[in-house]
């Protein structure tokens, strides 16, 4: 503060300040180049993120008929709220998010803890865990579509071998959550994506000072207590950030259900997600398709995620020191 007060004082330019002024030009040049680089990023975000977002909001209040676009007020919103599949899609999306948190969030963490404890073949196993991430999502999901095939699928072959009843997996008709169809989607999604999260967890685990574990060992702490009192608190920031990213990503689930259900929404619509419904509104209904209803649903999803993200960041903010 003292320095700022000094700067605000009007004082004659001393020879030293003049020399400093002489150094301003390179500073401006340096900042100019920084701003130049920034402009590229800002333009990219403006054209490919912010403009489409604004356009989406505008579209959600418009309608196009016979080539003429006009304002529609809240009609698109009323239309999507009146659609019975709207609520089905939200229920399914929440079901997927919760299941993905239980399975997809916890499994990579424990795999990372396990990998961190290993002393042999660590590199090989890390590579193995990360391998599915390198597969294009569509390829990975087509592989699971084969695994889940009720007639020729690998999983039912295994169940037959074990003399267990076969399952219809993604095609299961049950509607009581958690549905077998949604669990099947979550398993495939977890397998596809856990490599990335595991490596991030692993990096966080390796930053924990070894002395903490040594001290815990001396105090006689077991594995559970070490995880609870050292590992989780020390990786809290990473855990909370990944939780946020995971929820935002899983709420936008599309490709998993789309591929596994052959472009549909599953038996009894039980894998229909919100983004899948946006796709249907925009493209799949042909003559009844329109970007306006799709935009309205996109805006609703954006608002839900914004509120969730804001609330989550507020709740998990670090107390000011």
């Amino acid at each position: 503060m003292a320095e700022l007060a000094t700067l605000r004082k009007a004082e004659p330019l001393s020879p030293a300040r003049l020399r400093a002024g002489g150094r301003l030009l390179p500073k401006v040049r340096r900042n100019a180049s920084a701003h130049g680089f920034l402009i590229g990023a800002v333009l990219c975000f403006a054209f490919f993120s912010w403009y489409p977002m604004c356009r989406e909001i505008v579209l959600s209040f418009q309608k196009t008929q016979l080539g003429v676009t006009s304002w529609a007020g809240w009609a698109n919103y009323r239309r999507i709220f009146a659609d019975p599949t709207f609520w089905v899609a939200w229920r399914n999306t929440l079901e997927f998010t919760v299941l993905a948190l239980i399975i997809g969030y916890a499994v990579p963490f424990f795999v990372a803890v396990l990998l961190n404890e290993l002393r042999h073949a660590r590199g090989y196993l890390r590579c193995l865990v990360y391998l599915p991430v390198m597969l294009p999502p569509t390829s990975a999901l087509l592989l699971f579509a084969y695994f889940y095939d009720p007639t020729y699928g690998l999983f039912n072959d295994i169940l037959h071998t074990l003399h267990l009843p076969a399952s219809q997996w993604v095609q299961s008709p049950g509607t009581t959550p958690p549905t077998m169809a949604m669990i099947s989607v979550v398993i495939a999604a977890t397998w596809m994506n856990m490599g990335g999260a595991t490596l991030i967890y692993l990096a966080a685990l390796q930053n924990i000072p070894g002395e903490l574990y040594e001290a815990a060992d001396l105090d006689g702490a077991g594995l559970y207590r070490k995880i609870r009192h050292i590992t989780i608190p020390q990786t809290r920031l990473i855990l909370s950030m990944l939780l946020l990213l995971q929820v935002v990503a899983t709420m936008q689930m599309f490709v998993e259900a789309f591929i596994l259900t052959n472009g549909g929404a599953g038996v009894n619509d039980n894998t229909l997600s919100v983004v899948n419904l946006i796709y249907q509104y925009a493209f799949a209904l042909s003559g009844a398709s329109n970007y306006n209803s799709a935009s309205a649903l996109g805006v609703v999803l954006m608002l839900v995620l914004a509120v969730f993200s804001g609330g989550y960041l507020w709740l998990t903010r670090q107390p000011e020191r």
Partner: protein, 463 residues
């Protein structure tokens, strides 16, 4: 048939979202359709961009198209046809984007079911004043339901190029192996059930009957099956769903019976367009519903089936005489920005390529020489004298045994068109088909009632 590659696309609405193909197609359309690139010059020369040209990956069809373009341009030296090569001809997602961006070619391919979407987007030119018996000599013989598909009120927006009805494709090899008569395909649902059981008894992963339940194809087939039963999908005013009827119930009960009581349908369901054709080509499927072009466009050339292994009967129904069949097809429309000279040139091209027996897509002698099977009872585009001429030319070059398709041809199914908001209706009915084919305890009346409510809402929203 000439250019067979792009006929089947009319039925593979959402099957396979080929992003690259879509992007390339869109890009090509965007590049080639800009007014600066095409149009009429002061010298009277006209350039028209036309999509759905068979790409080089289908060499025989590609060759035939290019031959036709060369002949046409020679006959009409003031017209240049700028071909946009793509397959499939239409991917719904990129088609929607193309309409919204207004980047469609001068003469662009659409399915019959796209009319409302194209008109809503304001992208179709009114060509009524250019269509008459001088510019389209066989106009009066074009099947009325096909012309209706490109007409709104009294305004004509395009010209149909393919029109089809559906029937029951049978695998003659499996019929024979199961001790059934392949020259006498089943016509009632009871016969289909009995034959499907006999074929499934062959074992080795063979199933008697197959149907779709994904990609809007389930609803599409259900509509055809209801038409054959004598039911209606939507009322005449287009305001209410009418498939929650005894006819709709009979169709679903027959399917449920085969899937869960007879076990003559595979436990693997959620199938979309393209899957049953592969099973048929591999001699693993006895029967399924389709138009004839599935055989000559897909099962034989793409999936490796033998042309002599298949035949067709009419759509199954309770009575054994189908009351009608869903009829669909595709057409070409004209971009709103087209100049009068471009519209005239486009009509001239379509008449040459798609609407004249003996020429273009109906050059049967060339098809025979190029090794394509000739003689299928499709497309059903003409009536009267033009149809007679068509049949005469086709018979002269026929390479298939017409008796394999005799019961289908003799049934003369009444073309019923497609319901309003067809794709939305089909989409809503996919889950109904899927539930019937995957849930042993499916409550058919409840499924039909729920779907009726959903379709009524779609109709109310679009009205």
């Amino acid at each position: 048939m000439s250019r067979p590659l792009h006929r089947h696309a009319g039925r593979r609405r959402t099957a396979g979202i080929t992003v690259i193909v879509a992007a390339l197609g869109l890009g090509a359309a965007a590049c080639s359709s800009s007014p600066a690139a095409t149009g009429s010059s002061s010298s009277g020369h006209v350039t028209i961009s036309v999509d759905c040209a068979p790409p080089a990956s289908a060499p025989a069809q590609h060759k035939e198209w290019n031959e036709d373009v060369a002949i046409f341009e020679k006959q009409n030296p003031n017209i240049t046809v700028q071909s946009i090569y793509e397959n499939p001809c239409e991917v719904p997602a990129s088609f929607t984007a193309m309409l919204d961006a207004g980047t469609e070619p001068n003469v662009f391919y659409t399915y019959f079911t796209d009319k409302d979407q194209v008109l809503d987007a304001g992208q179709a030119a009114d060509i009524t004043q250019y269509v008459n018996t001088t510019t389209v000599p066989d106009l009066k013989d074009i099947v009325p339901s096909a012309m209706a598909a490109v007409t709104a009120g009294k305004t004509i927006y395009g010209l149909p190029t393919v029109n089809y009805t559906q029937g029951l494709i049978i695998n003659r090899v499996l019929f024979s192996e199961a001790g059934l008569n392949p020259d006498d395909p089943p016509t009632t649902w009871a016969q289909v059930e009995a034959d499907a059981k006999a074929i499934t008894a062959l074992g080795h992963g063979i199933y008697g009957y197959g149907d779709y339940s994904a990609g809007n194809n389930g609803g599409w087939h259900f509509s055809s099956e209801v038409d054959a039963e004598g039911g209606q999908m939507i009322n005449a005013a287009g305001t209410a769903a009418t498939f929650d009827s005894s006819q709709g119930q009979a169709v679903l009960e027959a399917l449920h019976q085969m899937r869960f009581v007879d076990h003559s349908m595979s436990p693997t369901q959620q199938l979309a367009w393209g899957t049953l054709q592969k099973q048929m080509a591999a001699n693993k499927l006895g029967m399924y519903i389709a138009a004839p072009d599935d055989i000559y466009n897909v099962i034989v050339p793409q999936d490796g089936g033998n042309i002599n292994d298949y035949g067709m009967g009419p759509l199954p129904s309770t009575s054994g005489t189908p009351a009608g069949s869903l009829s669909g097809g595709n057409d070409y429309m004209f971009a709103k920005r087209d100049t009068p000279a471009q519209i005239e040139a486009g009509i001239k091209w379509l008449v040459f390529e798609d609407l004249t027996p003996g020429v273009g897509q109906f050059n049967f002698a060339r098809q025979k020489a190029d090794g394509f099977p000739v003689g299928f009872p499709e497309p059903q585009l003409f009536t009267g004298a033009t149809q007679a001429k068509y049949v005469q030319l086709q018979d002269a070059s026929a390479t298939i045994n017409p008796s394999y398709y005799a019961t289908f041809a003799d049934a003369r199914e009444v073309p019923m068109g497609e319901p309003v908001d067809a794709q939305a209706v089909y989409k809503t009915l996919d889950p109904v088909m899927l539930a019937v084919l995957t849930n042993p305890n499916a409550n058919i009346p409840a499924l039909l009632a729920t779907a009726t409510g959903q379709v009524n809402q779609i109709l109310a929203n679009s009205g």
